[in-house]
Symmetry: C2
Subunit: 672 residues, 2 copies
């Protein structure tokens, strides 16, 4: 079957960014220059041109910007994402007969007999006829133009006709740049090709891409060992945490803790009246996901903590874990939201032969899935109304993926500034699918990537398109669930190494403290990644002033991150080769700001080696001498050309974080 209009000769394909053929939005953050590229071409030698159409979804009319040619039929155009939320973009392109004519005419003019390099007896170039063709195109443009522009174009058409009749020996290009630009304002779109899809772009606030998280258990913040910590105790710690440079303070679930099958210390199946239980066993007779565990304080205390955090330049992030203790009010109110066993009992969490009788998972195949979805969404909305705008979602990969797409979509419609961090440690497709469904940030495999090659391969995957179009990694050297063997065995140097890696490889990173800065490293048992005497099941006391604390290093790292835009996004990450496999070297940049990190991955001894800098990536000319400053120590060095030597003692300082000090007029790379 023929198309309705077969004369649309331009093809638009390979449009980027584009996530899963446009099934999901691409992601950017507020203020980003969004660059769209596409292959745009037609048949033959006619010139093509086109434009990017874009609008915030709240706008009715398209905005547009012309496409610029790159190489090999690729074109690009950019716009600034100057509002949060959902944007739409597409492209249109067409054969540009005027530009084709203009270019041909210039070639004819250059080939006129007697022109430089052209014999006086050369073939004439039919220029009067070409001028008449141009006049025709100008007349057509005039009919599309408005007001005085129309008259100007018609006048130029008349001028070209007059020139054509005048018969001259040689001709000059007859139009001014202004007229050429004017013609471009009134293209003939009759036969334009419109890209068939309207692609979506989701714009988050900057904290989705650049954030620094500190997790703590409020229960352990009391200065009095005999007393359960409270929101007020946390509030008292805010100046300390803010001074370390964190901007997100994240609390494990704050809801009433179930009593049925409550776990004792070290995940014991027996517990006493005094054991506080796991905050992830959510719900008791006092309430569920919209209630506060009474020992922590009141809703008013909570509001005060949220407000105080903001005053310290921090935001409070809540942990939302969609699972219920057997005591959760939903169990009685909505038994159909759970799996019912043949004996009528509710199915607890199981991974045969393991049983988790203190936890009831929700059933996303419930006949009342609509009611369940709404209730879960309403939990977020409840806390959003209390000014919480960041949520860390526990095990989102055990809840139906279509639920997340709907739930986050619903919330984002009204609150585009809400950030969701997916705590999913599962298979790659599932992790990526959660990010596509709407999660703003994602936990990663960073914890289990420790060697040079493991780190390099993994970070090359997660910091480049297509992954970066939908996935913002958030790196955690530890969590209450994960104390990696590297930390168990590597001592203080390992804690320094892993936090330096997290803070510089990832624009988003976080630590679970004060376990981290105090070097807590005893596992529950050999081979386990669980902490001994984990705060998940008991209250702990911490001596934040201990002399072995690496809080000063963390404070310095966070200051370096604030001062250096290069470390506030991940797309520019580039690895440089080193002749010692225990040293990892990488750079990041943003505008003129360039950071180069060299880190010894071995916690046991000094490692030294020659770095082979990729000078092109750093925009450093060959054979140049340049100044660098180690931002951890303030020491300046002069480096020369590509090969430079480093020696790093893990017990002193396992890394250099260099800022390149360059002349401002040196050519620098584009913004990633």
């Amino acid at each position: 079957m023929k198309p309705i209009e077969g004369r649309k000769r331009v093809i638009i394909e390979d449009v980027k960014p584009q996530v899963d053929c446009g099934r999901y939005p691409a992601k950017r953050v507020l203020g980003d220059a969004v660059t769209v590229t596409a292959a745009v071409f037609g048949d033959g030698h006619d010139h093509v041109t086109g434009r990017l159409l874009y609008r915030h979804s709240s706008e009715k009319d398209w905005r547009s910007t012309p496409l610029s040619p790159l190489t090999n039929d690729l074109w690009s155009a950019s716009f600034i994402a100057d509002a949060l939320g959902d944007w739409v973009y597409t492209l249109e392109a067409w054969v540009d007969h005027f530009d084709t004519w203009s270019d041909d005419l210039r070639k004819r003019l250059a080939a006129q007999p007697g022109q430089p390099g052209v014999s006086a007896s050369a073939e004439p170039q039919d220029i009067p006829l070409a001028l008449r063709s141009g006049a025709l195109l100008l007349e057509q443009t005039a009919t599309r133009a408005k007001g005085p522009d129309s008259k100007r174009l018609a006048d130029q058409a008349a001028r070209l006709l007059k020139l054509a009749k005048a018969k001259s020996d040689t001709y000059d290009y007859p139009l001014t740049d202004e007229i050429v630009a004017l013609v471009a304002q009134y293209p003939d779109l009759t036969l334009e090709t419109r890209y068939p899809q309207e692609l979506h772009l989701w714009v988050d606030r900057e904290r989705a891409r650049y954030s620094t998280w500190y997790e703590l258990f409020p229960r352990s913040t009391s200065p009095d060992p005999a007393r359960h910590g409270t929101f007020a105790d946390v509030q008292a710690l805010l100046p300390t945490i803010a001074a370390m440079g964190f901007d997100v303070l994240y609390l494990p679930p704050i809801h009433p803790i179930g009593k049925a099958f409550r776990k004792g210390p070290n995940n014991s199946v027996t517990s006493t009246e005094d054991d506080p239980g796991s905050p992830w066993a959510i719900g008791a007779k006092e309430g569920g996901h919209k209630s506060i565990h009474a020992p922590l304080g009141t809703l008013r205390d909570f509001d005060a903590l949220v407000a105080a955090a903001r005053e310290h330049g921090m935001e409070l992030a809540l942990d939302i874990a969609y699972q219920c203790s057997p005591d959760h009010p939903w169990v009685a109110e909505h038994p159909d939201w759970f799996n019912i066993r043949p004996d009528g009992s509710i199915q607890y969490a199981e991974n045969p032969p393991k049983k988790y009788q203190d936890i009831y998972p929700l059933n996303f195949e419930s006949p009342d899935w609509r009611g369940l979805w709404e209730a879960l969404r309403d939990v977020f909305l409840y806390w959003i109304l209390r000014d919480v705008k960041i949520f860390r979602v526990d095990n989102p990969h055990t809840k139906a993926l279509p639920f997340w797409e709907w739930c986050i979509g619903e919330i984002h419609k009204k609150y585009p500034d809400v950030i969701f961090l997916a705590e999913a440690f599962t298979r790659p497709h599932v992790m990526y699918s959660l990010a596509k469904a709407g999660f703003s940030q994602s936990y990663t495999y960073f914890t289990w990537r420790n060697t040079r090659d493991e780190l390099r391969v993994y970070f090359e995957e997660i910091t480049k398109p297509p992954v970066t179009d939908f996935f913002h990694p958030n790196l955690w050297p530890n969590t209450p669930d994960i104390l990696h063997a590297t930390l168990q065995n590597g001592g203080r140097p390992a804690f320094m190494q892993r936090v330096i890696l997290a803070a510089t490889l990832g624009a988003n990173y976080g630590i679970y403290g004060p376990a981290y800065e105090l070097g807590e490293n005893i596992p529950a048992k050999p081979g386990s990644e669980e902490y001994l005497n984990s705060e998940k099941y008991q209250i702990r006391q911490w001596d934040r002033s201990a002399s072995h604390s690496i809080a000063p290093l963390i404070t310095r790292l966070n200051q370096i991150r604030r001062d250096n835009p290069a470390l506030q996004s991940d797309g520019s990450l580039h690895f440089h080769n080193v002749d010692n496999s225990s040293i990892l070297c990488y750079s990041k940049w943003s505008g003129q700001n360039q950071i180069l990190v060299a880190i010894n991955l071995d916690p046991t001894q000094e490692q030294a080696g020659w770095i082979d800098l990729d000078l092109k990536e750093l925009a450093i000319p060959h054979n140049e001498t340049f100044d660098i400053e180690d931002l951890l120590t303030g020491t300046h060095y002069q480096w020369h050309d590509r090969s430079n030597y480093v020696a790093l003692r893990p017990d002193v300082m396992p890394a250099h974080i260099f800022r390149l000090l360059r002349k401002p007029n040196v050519e620098t790379p584009l913004t990633p």
Copy 2:
């Protein structure tokens, strides 16, 4: 907005093959096993399963085959493309509650107190309850099943209930493999996810992927220098060409040649009455694209040639060039199919300052584009009815791309066995776009890829997905338009090298003869790729029996191609490193057939070096000694492990084409 059914928990994505998000069909050839892969996964730990749905577009009902798991949530299934033409495929997948239950039950059984490795005092595993869950699933399956199957399933459900009630100390897995397989026949599809797209697959006959072309000018086939060659003369040559192993005989345009602005020898703008003109200046008062140039013979002679070629195992391919001489009947009948200049004249071909006054291009923006499209399609249909099933299309990139998609689609609907070769030497996107639009084979940049690195990079691009899903390369070491400097300067060894490369790198290849086998290598002028005294503008005499002819080599190459399935497709091409950059080494395989080529690219002197075989690609164990046979000479060698030495004299034989002689029980790779 919520989906209509929010309980569809399975995601299907990343389906391959898929060309431009399903905008174009993927391509395979008749008899291929078409393997479809996809990422299929859901939330949590529930098992998923699914199937591939496929049908020839002439069939109403889907056929289906179950998906098999690969790694990391990837699944695949295959079907045999056992008919030419348009196929459709998609996938469906669902949570498999029965399989999840079955797997859980096995874990419970293994964890029963007293089982191997399990203490007698271990926690009981609630097996009776699990059996009741299984009975429920079997009952549900029974309601979906038909006839006796339904009863069998219901009986099993009852059996499980009875076992559950009996209370035993230990239990065994209660179902036979037959019952498990029976359950799989009646899946619960209520909550299945269907991939939203139905993807298309185009199935060509095998010659689209494996063909051997010989191009000649019929005008030059007369044994009498005083006489214009005829179809009858060509017919007389068929045994010779067939004996060389070619299966496609391709003729430049056979239509009446225009007289207006006829070109003389060497593209001279002046010509005499005796000059035959260029066959690409199509159309005279005797007729256009459906007529035959009278000096070649009659339509009956043509029919006889087509039939005789088939008798020799060859097919005739016609060159269809959509452009007109000023004498073409269409010029008078349909002036609106051409560009009209402001003075009322028809625009001839131009690339300012160059003029091609003997050629009028067609105007694909004609108001009568519908009439034009139909006329062009009808040219193909006319020759198809004369039993021509292969067309080489001249400069398709200067005709509107949407036209090709429609035209080839229309023809393929009725004649799926027609093969179109695109003669486009233009930018990559345009070349690929023609293949996506429907061209079965494509000319390539092979002619301009001569060094080891040029060849390797280019062939790694065009022989791997995504390109192989829509693009079948056809390699030409020369054409009447292209005599590359490598041939001009390299003498006989260069002609040997380039044809060996073409015949072994490309399952489709062709030569323009007898210029090729006779080593014709004088350019029209220095720096030009045109032949001196080109047959395009004059009749030539050739001495096919000349002793320097490389026809014997070409004959041997074509025989090797026929005997070795490895050389009949391109997807298995793999390069092996050599420590001498003048030697290129690569392998291809199909089933048990393995071919390894080592070729000296230097026409001037012997080159020798150590090949570093990729043993894994060749499925050769480390440290093995294996036999290889050089199919060009019949010589046998014993090679050992990965490092093996070759020395190649270009004047004698620039290449080895080895067949690996392996024990049949050695593990061999899968079919590409």
